[in-house]
């Protein structure tokens, strides 16, 4: 994977899935936070799928979901999971490896 030296946005497309259950406060907040983050840091190179497990409970086991909300990065590999309502933008960026920790 190539990363820019200044910790800026690397190349590549991001395939993200956000798992929520119903329209709870946490779910709504997570969805909003993710939208904002993608618009800011991944303009034009992200796909986001939002999966409501209360509608499709089978997928919880299939995709190994335990905590909710969970954000899963399918692309680029490796698989990454971020749990929580994605309130801390820096943590999410680090978790998705959009931003690298400063050395």
């Amino acid at each position: 994977m190539t990363m820019a030296d200044d910790g800026d946005i690397p190349d590549g497309h991001y395939n993200l899935r956000l798992y929520v259950a119903g329209r709870t406060a946490n779910s709504m907040e997570a969805i909003a936070n993710l939208r904002r983050l993608c618009d800011e840091h991944l303009p034009g190179r992200h796909t986001v799928e939002i999966i409501d497990l209360s509608q499709d409970p089978k997928r919880a086991a299939q995709d190994q979901i335990v905590a909710l909300p969970t954000l899963v990065r399918h692309l680029p590999p490796p698989l990454k999971r971020i749990i929580g309502k994605l309130a801390d933008v820096d943590k999410v960026l680090f978790g998705l490896e959009i931003k690298k920790l400063n050395p």
Binding site: N26, L53, A61, V66, P69, G84, A87
Partner: protein, 565 residues
Amino acid sequence: MTAQNLDHAPAGALPKARTGIAGLDAVTFGGLPAGRPTLICGAAGCGKSLFGATFLVNGATLFDEPGVLMSFEETDRDIAANVASLGYDVAGLVAAKKLAIDYVRVERSEIAESGEYDLEGLFVRLAYAIDEVGAKRVVLDTLEALFAGLDDESLLRSELRRLFAWLKERGVTAVITAERGDGALTRRGLEEYVSDCVILLDNRVADQITTRSLRIVKYRGSAHGTNEYPFLIDSEGISVLPVTTAGLAHDTTLDTVSSGIAGLDAMLGAGGFYRGASVLVTGGSGTGKTIFGAHFAAAASARGERCMLFGLEESPSQIIRNVRSVGVDLAPHVESGVLKLSSARPSLYGLEMHLTLMYRAIESFKPSVVVVDPISAFRGPSTEVHSMLLRMVDLLKAWGITALFTNLTSPGRDDATDHGLSSLMDTWIGLHDLESNGERNRGLFVLKSRGMSHSNQIREYVLTSQGVRLIEPYIGSAGVLTGTARLTQEAQERADHTARRQQVEKRLRKHQVKRDSAERQMAETRAALDAEAAEIQRLADEAEQREQDREADRAALSIARGAAE
């Protein structure tokens, strides 16, 4: 046993979900609390997961209660392979919608946390699995893996509390397994949340032999056995042995069972052992303990009673060959199926394992007579050996089985049983080596025999080609004589007797000679007298003849003279 204990469960008690695990349902008086969570804790390798899996499989196969296994440690494939080794067809149960398995993987390295979250995903999965099979039972194995995967412990705890409440609400009987912690039941204090029933599993190694044990720490709203119960895991799954002193309520009888040795029966006032009694035969090496056992077994088999002989030091064929040499033939009984020989060295398994194997063998064969030869082969910490033997004796008594145990005693301490067993035994027969005059002979005596009078003699016995034979005691001036001393004494007596008889005969002969000679003399005298009488007669006859002749002469002369005149 299970059924019997279940009968004692008080009416209107807590509804229970049977585990189908032999023994566990007995000590819990019916199973785990139905519709509530139960915590099973123990160190690694205690069999927690297997308990869970067995609970589910038995539920699905025996009690028509489908189940869900949510595993946090093993993948679906591992679980299927692990329980398949116990003969459970997990794949078949899953296909038949009687079992759902969900493997929950929480990999810390790929998880980052950002903001509040909950474990709703777990709830969704569990709810989905429960609905999929209509589950009545749920096993969570091992929930604590969540603590390793997620950071926010306080959130986890509140979510777990919510989870247990939710499980109760769903009315499923849940089993939650947890690792044993230092100084606490579980490493993460899960017992705080699961307060209905807590079962502790333990796995101890003593003298290189492992013993598994189970204890019910708590069972809210129900009576339960409080002891530590040994359990074991083998090819037939888990069995718990609730064999503490199984109670002393067993029935007694006045029926007797022959020891198989006529002389020994005669020494026992009742003419044999009481049926259902436990008999101990102790003796040093080479006193013929095994042969006494074989006699007993052969006699029972000959009566047509089922008999089981556990050989702990010899293989079945060895036992048969050896006792045949003294005229006890077990082979026909084995062939006819009345007698079963079972051999295994106790050092092969732990004591508990051995006890359980014997328990199972007895339960399936249902003998009325059991011989264990010898119990001294059980090695281990003496308290454990004692407790194991105690439970064995109690079990056999509870089942009404007449049992004969042999025990090897060390020389010099014949009256001491190594495991302090004498008080458990109803009849105790001591076999002794009697050493005197440079030889060893075998002596037998009855140390005790509860509930009957018995001989106080030490009786010599010999191992003949017709089996054990008791010899009439020879009590001489120096006490009881045995062996050649007895034979010498008997020979001496015979010699004395012969000498006395010979003396009489001699005098009789002398008398006869005397009588003969006297009679001869008398005959001679009589003959002489007869001869004399005959001579006298002859002389008398002669005299008369002469007189007659003279008369005739005189007449003739007179005639002649007359003519001349």
